[in-house]
Symmetry: C2
Subunit: 359 residues, 2 copies
């Protein structure tokens, strides 16, 4: 088992990563600071893995609430249902919620835990690679609004994250890849050595080799944690984590959030960001080729929909990360070194959008 | 104008208290760190005082949302409506919400501000004495659930509180008294000198003399702030602020939250807490007489409903401030010195409940 600590002062918490952690009773008892728990999960995960978790949680007093899977259920209405469930399960201030599933379960459950009695403890038990590397670090919780994703939410740190690589065995290929996009993103932002490691171990990861997965999860969490620790409330450097996301959001918005998985859109966005960096002369063309080759081997769709550069720009401007109408981009100074900047040649930006999204 | 600063590190904020502050344009411009605002208010306050606020906010870009008044509208549904209104008003992360009304408006609005885009700035402009002395300090925001009051919420500090004593002129007598209960509570907890001041100036306060009001508000906020600063997330000494509240909750629960105002129930609860303290021999009988006399002069109903001591106890045990089944009480060691304790004679507690609520 690997363990890392997210250092956020009084809100610090451990992330435990390894094969078969769910069923480890001692581990759960040692790290979950409550006896009475509400486990929130979805029907798929309940069927595949709830049994293992229940083994691990023997001795705890648990209730289980199942919510439907999918981004379109990530609403205030579902969060409200969880608040009802917390009350029905008689969870007191010293109880805890266990979020057992992917990012949707984690985000809604974390938000419900943040709001219930003004904040109770919650444990993240992420079951997708994306959730293990991304949403389990950073304390972002929330739900969508008809007007936009994650418009309603809270910053609320879990008390513990338990990432069992065994749960990734049952993950569809597309979902595994979606998680890999965030892993590759972490390497591109600030660790060229990790990028080389990913090039060397991509096949192991695609074969779901537990040790390779554990390392990829650990390193990604470390990178994200380091950035988040510098900027818990998202005022500055945390924006680095949005590498590829502004372009990706344009793809997701234009296609209605159901055609492309978030991770797939991010992968395509990473390529656009890298390509623009090369176009600006910040990266040699060979580096762009390396990134393209890695994303291709991972099996990502890399051709953005031809929505036209104007429409893509409009979507990017609506993205909440844009302030004062001026688009700050996350670009690469070299592989493993990203930068937040609005100091770039607008003509190169326009040309890149036209190449990616059509004229 | 009086000003005090609530010292909470990066979440510190000023409270401005005085007559006619609403319409002071410079004051608003100096203290509200946003240009685009959503003002949330209720129909009564809108009719009486929105004009003055709009004068003060000339130059800001404002939208106004009116929500119905009353505790029964303090729901997730109303909060959801405010989230919609924030989106419609195109409030971005650097915008702000202005809560303009009593405790209900403040609590719901603060909660909406806490959840919108994971937290935007909000300004409290409380228009009742209760809100000015109580809910504007402490950062508690939230809504009720069918299962209990304030079960859903967040800790979210305002960026500024503006308490205009002119708004208290239009406050019904009963509402003014409800605020005075919290003022008297503050004095009883930790300031015997302030208690003497209240005895000397009660008539001025009841006549709504601006200077007396401003002093009472300032001193109450100082006391609350000092306690909150020691315990922002309500783990320990903050419970002192619940003096009288555990008994008061029993009254409110038993009568369905519409017969007694919160402040009235607190006043009756203060008398029970003082009486129990005297019964335990911690206070001389003369002190109990002083407290009773002050509450009586203020015009409070002081006879709790005869629901029986058993039912009162059951309501108190359901109160969320009870942990592990054992009732910790806030009692007086002397006038101006409260203590959180479960070290008291159970027989005296029982006798007190029987005297207050009937056998």
């Amino acid at each position: 088992m690997q363990q890392l600590s997210i250092d956020l002062g009084p809100r610090s918490y451990p992330i435990l990563i390894g094969e078969g952690l769910l069923a480890q009773r001692d581990l759960m008892a040692r790290h979950i600071p409550a006896r009475r728990l509400l486990v929130v999960t979805n029907p798929t995960i309940a069927e595949l893995h709830l049994h293992a978790l229940q083994q691990g949680l023997a001795g705890f007093d648990i209730s289980v609430e199942t919510i439907p899977d999918g981004e379109r259920f990530k609403t205030l209405a579902t969060a409200s249902r969880l608040l009802d469930a917390l009350i029905e399960a008689r969870i007191a201030r010293d109880g805890a919620l266990v979020a057992f599933g992917g990012g949707v379960v984690g985000d809604i459950s974390g938000f419900a835990a943040a709001c219930y009695q003004r904040g109770i403890a919650y444990v993240q038990v992420p079951t997708t690679l994306l959730a293990q590397v991304d949403s389990s670090v950073g304390g972002k919780t929330g739900v969508n609004h008809a007007a936009g994703k994650n418009l309603i939410g809270a910053f609320h740190q879990p008390v513990c994250v338990i990432s069992d690589t065994a749960t990734l065995r049952t993950l569809p290929d597309r979902e595994l890849r979606a998680g890999l996009a965030e892993v590759i993103k972490c390497a591109l932002i600030c660790d060229a050595q990790f990028l080389s490691w990913l090039e060397a171990h991509l096949d192991d990861l695609l074969k779901r080799e537990p040790q390779a997965l554990a390392h990829a999860i650990q390193r990604s969490c470390e990178i994200k944690a380091e950035i988040v620790a510098r900027d818990e409330r998202e005022q500055g450097p945390r924006a680095l984590l949005n590498l590829g996301h502004t372009f990706g959001h344009a793809i997701e918005s234009a296609t209605g959030y159901d055609e492309w998985l978030h991770g797939e859109a991010v992968a395509a966005g990473l390529l656009i960001a890298t390509s623009l960096s090369a176009r600006l002369g910040w990266l040699p063309g060979a580096d762009l080729d390396r990134v393209r080759a890695l994303l291709k081997r991972a099996g990502f769709p890399l051709t953005a929909p031809t929505i036209g550069s104007e429409q893509a720009l409009a979507h990017m401007q609506r993205d909440k990360k844009v302030r004062g109408g001026r688009i700050r981009l996350i670009l690469l100074k070299k592989l493993g070194t990203a930068e937040i900047t609005d100091q770039y040649d607008p003509a190169a930006f326009k040309a890149e959008l036209q190449q990616a999204f059509g004229p």
